[in-house]
Symmetry: C2
Subunit: 199 residues, 2 copies
Amino acid sequence: MTDVPSMDALAMLLRRLPGIGPRSAQRISYELLVRKRELMPQLAAALQQAHTVVRFCERCNNLSESSRCGVCRAEHRDRSIVCVVESPADLRAIEDTGVFAGEFFVLMGHLSPLDGIGPEALHIDRLTARLAEADLREVIFATNPTLEGEATAQFLAGLVPNGIIVSRIARGVPVGGELEYVDRGTLGRALHGRRLLDE
Amino acid sequence: MTDVPSMDALAMLLRRLPGIGPRSAQRISYELLVRKRELMPQLAAALQQAHTVVRFCERCNNLSESSRCGVCRAEHRDRSIVCVVESPADLRAIEDTGVFAGEFFVLMGHLSPLDGIGPEALHIDRLTARLAEADLREVIFATNPTLEGEATAQFLAGLVPNGIIVSRIARGVPVGGELEYVDRGTLGRALHGRRLLDE
């Protein structure tokens, strides 16, 4: 704490951002007030603007500035494949690979009974509606490879109508990694999920 | 980049804060927009408030919400000792030690001819005025133990009127550190600056 209350107030709020501890929050506050004053109103305006303008896509929950997000508005996407992810950031990560041309559904979380997050929190009614669309052929579950992510995928797979392919992203050794440093669970999964060399 | 321009704009500004790279900036933007929406207007208001209210102490350049900072306003401080520091954050660090009861002067930087930072940028006229005050007895230079900080201390020492004690904070091994891991320059300094055991 300093004897400058409005700087302390700013630092307290900055600490609530991910990856910013008490020291970083104070460092950022000093930097803004001493050397980057012009950034403060800009940042305030950007926060207000994003807060006002950004909402959730009515079809897939992705972040968007209109009622449907860029992916759902695009005309060339393959509507017969839906990739189910936990968050808009995960959607972005998959988009950035450039290898997926289907659509998405963002759950906004994962099942976590201990935290009171049940199926109703995951927009299941809208997911069910999406899964009922006529041209659907495959659902890819791309929830995180964590306990909660796996449980969520397992649970949601039970909601997929018969006749639709249900898949899960592959778990295995990360590309570029060295086997020696890969954890046992991952390596076990990679052996278990091995593919024929000519596939 | 995403297809949500106001989120990208926010992330671009966050990247200009110290310690926040492109990944952190995106992560913070997602976190704010997906899970911490209520924080966005709060943070915007805190930025605006601090930007409007925080200024520099007219006596010592410290951050303050009035014309004189908390240290300069305090009645019990020893006005006969001035500690010269590079930044308000350095002032705060020294205040937090609780061992200094004198006053400060914040240079707002250090001499750096290559970056075009000459003496005039360091509020030298006001420092000179402060050094001319009648009851001054000692000036402690607590600029950083870097090349620029040392050069700044050396240069400013030349401005101190005769008869006033000029000191420099001790350079040596950090308390709690292990000699084995201390760099050569620091260890050399620590030997050079050794003190009699009974001091």
